[in-house]
Symmetry: C2
Subunit: 457 residues, 2 copies
């Protein structure tokens, strides 16, 4: 059977696969800093050459920023489009790296061997798992088991400014049956995970103005309205005693968790105690009666991300400030409408405003939640393949953060995305000493080899 031969080849080819990844990691493709533009270009060229060597028809597509790489391979069966990004985060603070970030090395740690270096996990190591799986199939059988296209982006770490225009302009070329995205992690170190729920986000800044200038609290204190107090009261009233958000209509469109998914989550070797314990917390702070995973994956939230007003320097100053400010964000799920929630928040603030205060708002990004339609047969096929590889039942999980790419594929291309990644919580992506477990890399390659096989069926 071909799959077994392919997996055996992957095992035999481990060292060479690692060498190839090291080569890619040495390219300093920091997208946000224009001084590294030619390195980004070099990473795109490196990938194109590698893809062409695998029999893909790969090309560099210029954008106003860093280039896209698009590649197509011949094939039959389910047409899968794989997405990854070749750019990496900046390396500051450089002094906190134990080794130079672009001189990757394999290190032995108490938890096993890791590949250390910028981009090892996010996202070069992850995208190479897919390329190596393709290479193994190609080497062993001369072709891929299913039809594959590829899109690599070079601006993911700098806000993806070219992505939507590029997707819209190349809609037809990017059309496929399913999207594969390898930029996420595993819910536990040994549980393969397919992210199917991504929370949306609405951001808002509010400024409350009371007196026309800063006042002396001796002369005015007691009689004059303090906008910090107004803001405190309004923000404190955003949640009730059970941890629920009080905004009018906030829970419209928030679905209950499907029973199948709820059961998977219950069985996970995951505990809120240890998740919180890692950051020195112990008390779940969200809605009462919801599990920890629900609180971070499938329930909407409201958080104050920043607050400021009055005197914030050293010592004391008896001022009643003219203004107080806060930045608030909401994580959305299901079909919650970002615009309605923005309006409900603004109304909440106005409802808490004394007659002599005013509120001004600055709108930040608004995006709805994405939820994948897991009844597409590719989902169960991939979950089965992952379960086989990891010998642990694969699970559909949520992701508290927002990964806009999956929503773009839904909205622009019309495809569902399977977000399958092999990162671990301790990979330190975006931070010094980023690493990727050698196990993630090796079993990641084997996982994709199995998924490609399963998609062909």
């Amino acid at each position: 059977m071909s799959l077994d031969q392919v997996l055996a080849h992957i095992d035999a080819d481990q060292d060479a696969a690692l060498d190839r990844l090291m080569e890619l990691l040495r390219i300093q493709s920091i997208s946000t800093d224009s001084a590294y533009a030619q390195h980004c270009d070099a990473a795109a060229d490196w990938l194109i050459a590698d893809l062409n060597s695998l029999g893909f028809d790969a090309s560099k597509r210029e954008t106003p920023g860093h280039p896209m790489v698009v590649a197509h391979a011949q094939g039959t069966g389910t047409h899968a489009l794989f997405y990854g990004h070749y750019d990496v985060q900046p390396i500051d603070p450089i002094e906190l790296w134990d080794n130079p970030p672009f001189e990757p090395a394999v290190e032995t740690t108490p938890n096993g061997k890791v590949i250390r270096g910028r981009g090892s996990s996010d996202d070069k190591g992850q995208l190479m798992t897919f390329l190596e799986a393709c290479r193994a199939w190609k080497t062993v059988t001369g072709s891929l088991p299913t039809k594959v296209s590829i899109l690599f982006e070079g601006e993911e770490e700098s806000g993806s400014p070219s992505l939507i225009p590029f997707m819209e302009a190349n809609k037809d070329e990017l059309k496929s049956d399913i999207t594969l995205i390898c930029d996420t992690g595993m819910v536990t170190p040994t549980t393969p995970s397919i992210v199917t729920m991504l929370r949306g986000l609405v951001g808002q800044q509010v400024t409350i103005t009371g007196p026309s200038k800063d006042l002396h609290s001796g002369m005015f204190g007691g009689l004059a309205r303090n906008p910090i107090r107004v803001l405190n009261a309004a923000l404190a009233a955003l949640h009730d005693d059970t941890g629920a958000v009080t905004l009018n209509g906030f829970y419209d469109g928030v679905p209950e968790l499907p029973e199948q998914v709820a059961k998977q989550w219950e069985n996970l070797d995951w505990s809120a105690d240890s998740f919180l314990g890692d950051v020195n917390l112990s008390v779940p702070a969200g809605e009462q009666g919801r599990s920890g995973l629900e609180q971070i994956w499938s329930r909407p939230t409201c958080d104050v991300n920043g607050i400021w007003g009055g005197y914030t320097g050293e010592g004391s100053k008896t001022v009643i400030p003219s203004q107080a400010h806060a930045k608030i964000s909401f994580r959305l799920v299901g079909t919650q409408d970002p615009q309605k929630i923005r309006e409900a928040f603004q109304q909440h603030i106005r409802d808490h405003l004394p007659a002599d205060c005013t509120a001004e708002f600055v709108d930040y990004g608004a995006g709805p939640a994405s939820s994948m339609e897991i009844d597409h047969p590719a989902f169960e096929a991939a979950r089965g393949a992952l379960s086989d590889e990891w010998e642990t039942e694969g699970v559909y999980v949520g992701c508290g953060g927002s990964i806009p790419i999956a929503g773009h594929f839904q909205n622009i291309i019309g495809t569902q995305s399977m977000l399958i990644g092999f990162g671990q919580d301790d990979d330190q992506i975006h931070s010094p000493n980023e690493k990727y477990d050698l196990t993630s890399f090796h079993k990641g390659i084997r996982s994709w080899a199995r998924i490609l096989d399963a998609l062909a069926d």
Copy 2:
């Protein structure tokens, strides 16, 4: 009758009195900036020379900072100690001055003539009202109608570091029957005012720590405790719906207003509407059922003077911060105990703390309220004299801010202070274009002449 002659002399001597004030105003006695130390010294010397010319026995007393001026005149009757300060505030921002701050000039404004220049109101113009009154008595009658001593300080605008040690070391010399302080204003432009209540102050900083580091609100939002929200809730709970402070025992020692004073305040030509209207407010924000003047003078308060936490830069950042901070201050009245209120506040914060958060406190200054014992006959004598001069009933008023000097005289010397000043709300003390109304200066001199006469009776 001598008083009439003295008042007539004051009227005739107006221009010369103004010239003398102008001379003192030209001395650049900024106490907080050591570059001006010799100017402070020069101001002390100028006053000593003037006092000696009036028959005082005046001397310069060195301190670790700027010198004190102490002077005594022979006399009988009530022994009054007059306090003022010869130092002035810095002049920044200099570009906002219409004329050089140390080149004083008389200007005609829609509200009458004013003396423009740094220190014109705070406090050189005010202290000279007393000296000119003494000069007039001396010139007309050859002596003062009552026994007078004088203490001039040169560090009032820089925290009075030498004052308490100096008062303690010279307790006996400074002993008198009553203290006169001319460093306050009139409650309305035509209502002579004796400040008899000074609010105290307790300051406190609080830092609430939740997670051990800043968290990503996508990954943790919902489950992880946000210290900004904890702080908001705790601060919002400091007041109830009626505007009262909820701290345990907060109102212990808060007296009701004496009926006589309450009646005076009711009859004042003062309105909260116009006081608040000047700073674009309209709704009294303090305790329900208390008048505007009670709210700023005789009721205790709690204000948040500063708050900060999380991301406060441009744009949005989806962070759950590790810490949130606030600076809180309480204005105290009656016999409220600053230490007890500090403890009650800390307990309030702890009571609102989830089990996995901690609170740290920084203590700022604590001083109780001062309330003068107005049954000393000097008070009614002075109030009568002021009423005669201004042809408007003099009133006992409160002062929302803290003027520590009156408390020091009570605690160290054992005397009550009469805070009588002729400043107006629009004098712009501590700001560019400081001024003192010529009427304040002239009628201030006449007021002291009358008060000296009244104290002799």
